[in-house]
């Protein structure tokens, strides 16, 4: 078992891999149900992109997807994160809580995948709720079947990444099945959980009109989906792929043009989605 470290003090943009070599593999990780400790990559105090108002975003480590365009490939493994206690995380969050409340913001847990360390994530979210903060997670939904209704009850918002509507494309870009994500989306819709669907627009990988159309049609009837956010691919993660020595498929991929972004937003809007 790893020893508990101070919650690190570097930037979310810094490369940070393999800092807890004793950590279990993420795909074999068994949640203890208590979540008093977990692995965190970094945090950021001032995001305006990850939910309403100003957000503290906690990046936990561990993810089962291997997206070819991932901008945080140094968060895939649990061992990439620092081993910290939930208590430490909540104390740190508490330092920001009054500010977040007055700016109408809260906590967003991203990653990595927020559902890998489910109990840890839940414990932190519950703590944030006690501080009067708005709570959100950003997730691929792949592990949606694992989380119980209690978990969902400490969440005010889900930022759900739907990378593709086509199972083959989904497998190509993430290495995993699409179905769990769609099931999770339907579950959120059925309980009316506020959700922002996020779609990463990667030229040559996810920009096919039919792919976009599929997601738009799937999402459009869901009344709980407040926004569909089109997120343009960028190259800020390139150096991490290089540094870790991973095979990066997107060295030559350009960020999408304004025209392409507008086309995709237009497709979502035409289908009846509230897109931006």
């Amino acid at each position: 078992m790893s020893t508990v470290q101070p919650l690190e003090s570097g930037s979310r943009y810094d490369l940070r891999a393999g800092v807890s070599p004793d950590a279990p593999d993420e795909d074999k990780f068994k949640d203890d149900g208590k979540g008093a400790f977990g692995y965190c990559h970094s945090y950021e105090s001032s995001s305006r992109y990850d939910g309403p108002g100003l957000r503290v975003v906690l990046f936990v480590s561990g993810c089962l997807l291997r997206c070819t365009y991932c901008h945080n490939p140094d968060t895939w493994h649990l061992k990439d994160g620092t081993y910290v206690s939930a208590e430490q995380v909540l104390k740190r969050l508490g330092d920001f809580a009054p500010s977040l409340r007055s700016l109408g913001g809260g906590l967003t847990i991203s990653g990595g995948e927020a559902m890998v360390q489910m109990a840890f994530t839940k414990r932190i979210l519950a703590g944030a709720k006690q501080m009067g903060l708005h709570t959100a997670i950003e997730t691929s939904g792949f592990l949606g079947d694992r989380v119980d209704d209690d978990f969902l009850s400490v969440l005010d918002l889900v930022l759900l990444d739907i990378k593709s509507s086509n199972p083959d494309t989904y497998r190509n870009v993430t290495g995993r099945d699409l179905a769990p994500t769609l099931r999770f989306a339907e579950r959120l819709a059925s309980i009316g959980k506020p959700t922002w669907v996020r779609f990463t627009l990667v030229p040559g990988a996810t920009d096919d009109p039919a792919n976009v159309e599929g997601i738009a049609k799937f999402v459009a009837p869901m009344k709980n989906v407040e926004w569909v956010e089109v997120q343009p691919f960028h190259q800020m993660g390139e150096f991490k792929w290089k540094a870790i020595g991973l095979d990066y498929k997107h060295y030559d991929t350009q960020p999408p043009s304004r025209e392409l972004i507008n086309r995709v937003i237009g497709q979502f809007r035409d289908a009846g989605c509230n897109a931006r």
């Binding site: 105090s45 001032s46 992109y49 330092d95 956010e229």
Partner: protein, 756 residues
């Protein structure tokens, strides 16, 4: 004062003061009372504002070739023969027919004057650097017949102080140039006229005639005599421009002219580093409101007055030396003007003229001067807050200071001198004292008083660190000893400087626009706060091994601990408390030593652009900063270390205690223009909330840039494309293209937060 005389003046001023609500201000000199009784707070938005008039545009067009030439050539002209004073130069004009406010420092725009009373060497090296020839007669006068402030200070300095200057542990001291940071209450000339002010000065003088002539009384008598002469000369200067300012202004245009003449007189008499204008917007607004009511002025005319006054404030020039420019780069003069704030009764001092002042940044384009300072109160009307934020977003030309924090200390009629120094107008002045290099002091503590660059013994010999690793308690104790010595030496130097400045380079006009009995502060400063805080945190939470050179001098540090150590700027109390405690500790040490004229000790955490020079002169530090690398400016975290977003960064800075840093805590924030999904209205709304948050958490200062790195990099390559690109550095703004390449790189290397 004598009641009969007062009544007489009151009736004579009757027509000038028509329509004004009388009060204590009619009986004694009390501009604050005049404002509070007569101001018309404005709670609406900016829609009423008018564009620049034809006359304004004509004057502006005449000035453009000068600006362009200056960017290419530097100093355009110098009058090397006539040492500047109120009457040294014939009236000068830019475009006489179109100027609604007149007056220049010399007889031509952009011709710089000389101030040899500060120091002849500075003048001559400035002339030489500008490519001109010094004058033999001036040289003779100031070597044979007249001593300067600079000569006086060096007669009084000790070898120890000279060593400190040389090693760079104390720098930027005003021992060879005007100290500045004095704001005459220029409004008094408009409201009362010089005759009335003279009468009051006579009265003040008569009151001390009976007092036993100790040093202070004799000095005061001489000063009052000088002040009275200055007021007479000021009236004569105005007369040469065709105006009689012995009587109060009778309308808005005269009020602008009178106020500007008073300021102009100050910059003809003194070349202080910072020559601030004070807090004139809401004062002059009262005159505009009266003229509007009387149908003598319309909005276009009101804006024209502001635009043209601001044009004058944008062409103030002083002759400086290359050394000076390295400390305060981009030719600043801090014609700081304060807008906004609240009065003590809880009314916002926001008027239409607060808007008009900001609007000059659109009518004339962005610019560093005047250094417009918004006195931010969370209670100000929301539309004004939003307008300020919008102006920042469009021009990066504003700075913000916390009125809610300052008002309890300084009341509601203070202004900012220079960057962050609050002072009550006409009732307070400061003895400016630049700053010490606290990071170097830490290295002296580690090396037993030897300079880490030269190896010389500078501070008294003490036991250096002898082991291979730094121990927090040991270093902290050693550092305390060095700070004790530094504080004492620093106060010592400051006493010498200001004694001589009063003696040889007294600001007779600025002080004529003060009460006789004022509060004097002596403003000390520290640079390198974040470097020291991070270094101490590294020693406490890491495992710092020292590296010695052949002479045993510790010249480098390696962190052999595996934990990353806390860094200032991340809202992390482990290091933020060290920073706060340093501010308080050094202030307490400063306070132990008596000051010249019993000035009250204050302190600032401000570097201006000297963070680059200080960094250059300082060796490797235990926080991992490399030798020569710039410090963070002011109270800023070190570049790139505030890595958790602006909220974390500004919460750290907001913790620094204002009560132990009453001369201000400078914090510069750069944010990239918003590229996300927020509309402009939403963005302004969110930023306004963020400002309220920062200031309500105790933040003192926010120097805001809204710009991206790419634009700055392009401006470095193609300066001609960006003649008016303005950027806020520590406490002031500069034309980016007028910074040295080194300073440009420093600005670019700072943390840019992705969003606000």
């Amino acid at each position: 004062m004598n009641p009969t005389a007062a009544l007489r003046k009151e009736s004579a001023a009757g027509d000038c003061w028509r329509g004004f609500q009388p009060g204590d201000w009619t009986k004694s000199i009390n501009v604050r009372d005049f404002i509070v009784k007569n101001v018309a707070p404005y709670t609406g938005d900016e829609k009423f504002l008018a564009p620049a008039s034809q006359r304004t545009k004509a004057v502006w067009a005449k000035l453009q070739p000068y600006f362009a030439e200056e960017r290419k050539k530097g100093v355009l002209a110098v009058d090397v023969k006539n040492p500047s004073n109120l009457l040294a130069h014939a009236p000068g004009f830019i475009d006489k027919d179109n100027e609604v406010v007149v007056g220049l420092q010399t007889d031509q725009p952009f011709k710089r004057a000389i101030f040899p009373y500060g120091g002849l060497r500075m003048v001559e090296s400035g002339i030489k650097a500008a490519g001109f020839e010094a004058d033999a007669a001036v040289h003779e006068a100031f070597t044979k017949y007249r001593k300067s402030h600079n000569d006086g200070v060096f007669d009084a300095y000790t070898p120890e102080i000279m060593n400190c200057r040389r090693s760079g542990i104390i720098t930027g001291l005003p021992d060879a140039y005007g100290r500045g940071r004095i704001i005459g209450d220029y409004r008094r000339v408009a409201l009362y006229g010089t005759d009335r002010l003279l009468e009051v000065k006579k009265e003040e003088r008569a009151q001390i005639d009976d007092m036993w002539p100790n040093d202070e009384i004799i000095r005061q008598r001489e000063e009052l005599a000088e002040q009275m002469r200055a007021l007479k000369d000021l009236a004569e200067m105005a007369k040469r421009y065709g105006f009689d300012i012995t009587q109060p202004a009778t309308n808005a245009r005269e009020a602008f002219q009178w106020t500007y003449f008073a300021y102009l007189g100050a910059i003809k008499e003194a070349n202080g580093a910072a020559m601030s204008i004070g807090r004139i917007s809401s004062f002059l607004d009262i005159y505009i409101e009266r003229d509007l009511k009387e149908g003598k002025l319309d909005e276009a005319g009101a804006q024209e007055l502001w635009d043209q006054l601001v044009q004058k404030l944008r062409i103030v020039r002083f002759l400086r030396t290359p050394d000076y420019d390295a400390l305060f780069s981009g030719d600043p003069y801090w014609a700081t003007e304060c807008v906004g704030g609240m009065d003590l009764d809880g009314r916002a001092l926001v008027t239409r003229s607060s808007y008009r002042m900001l609007h000059t940044l659109y009518n004339l384009g962005p610019a560093p001067e005047p250094n417009i300072t918004v006195l931010w109160s969370t209670h100000m009307p929301a539309p004004f807050k939003r307008y300020c934020v919008k102006v920042s977003k469009d021009t990066s030309s504003l700075q913000y200071e916390n009125d809610d924090l300052m008002r309890p200390f300084w009341g509601d009629d203070y202004a900012i001198a220079c960057c962050v120094s609050a002072m009550r107008l006409g009732k307070q002045m400061q003895f400016f004292g630049a700053r010490v290099n606290l990071a170097k002091a830490l290295l002296y503590a580690i090396n037993g008083g030897r300079d880490e660059v030269s190896g010389d013994q500078v501070s008294p010999k003490t036991m250096p660190v002898t082991g291979d690793f730094l121990d927090y308690d040991d270093v902290r104790a050693k550092f305390d000893t060095v700070m004790e010595w530094l504080a004492r030496t620093y106060v010592h130097a400051m006493n010498c400087i200001h004694y001589m400045h009063d003696k040889y380079f007294y600001e007779r006009l600025e002080m004529a626009l003060h009460d006789r009995d004022i509060l004097r502060t002596m403003a000390f400063g520290i640079a390198g706060l974040s470097v020291v805080a991070d270094s101490l945190a590294a020693i406490k939470y890491g495992k710092i091994k020292v590296v010695r050179d052949a002479t045993g001098l510790i010249v480098d540090y390696k962190n052999e601990g595996n934990a990353s150590t806390p860094q200032f700027g991340n809202n992390d109390d482990r290091v933020d408390q060290i920073a706060s405690e340093l501010v308080t500790t050094f202030m307490e040490k400063i306070r132990k030593h008596p000051t010249y004229r019993n000035a009250t000790h204050t302190q600032s955490v401000l570097t201006i652009t000297s963070n680059v020079v200080y960094g250059k002169a300082t060796g490797n530090t235990p926080d991992g900063r490399r030798k020569g690398e710039p410090f963070g400016p002011g109270a800023n975290p070190m570049h790139g270390r505030d890595s958790h977003g602006w909220l974390a960064s500004c919460l750290s800075v907001a913790k620094l205690p204002y009560k132990d840093s009453l001369d201000g805590i400078s914090y510069t924030v750069s944010v990239a223009p918003q590229k996300a999904h927020l509309s402009e209205t939403q963005l302004v709304e969110e930023a306004t909330k963020a400002f309220d948050l920062y200031f309500s958490r105790g933040g003192f200062h926010m120097n805001l840039n809204v710009i991206d790195k790419e634009t700055l990099e392009d401006a470095m390559k193609n300066p001609d494309k960006y003649p008016q690109l303005t950027i806020r550095v520590s406490g002031y703004a500069v034309n980016f293209v007028r910074l040295t390449p080194e300073q440009q790189r420093d600005v670019i290397s700072r943390t840019f937060h992705g969003q606000i």
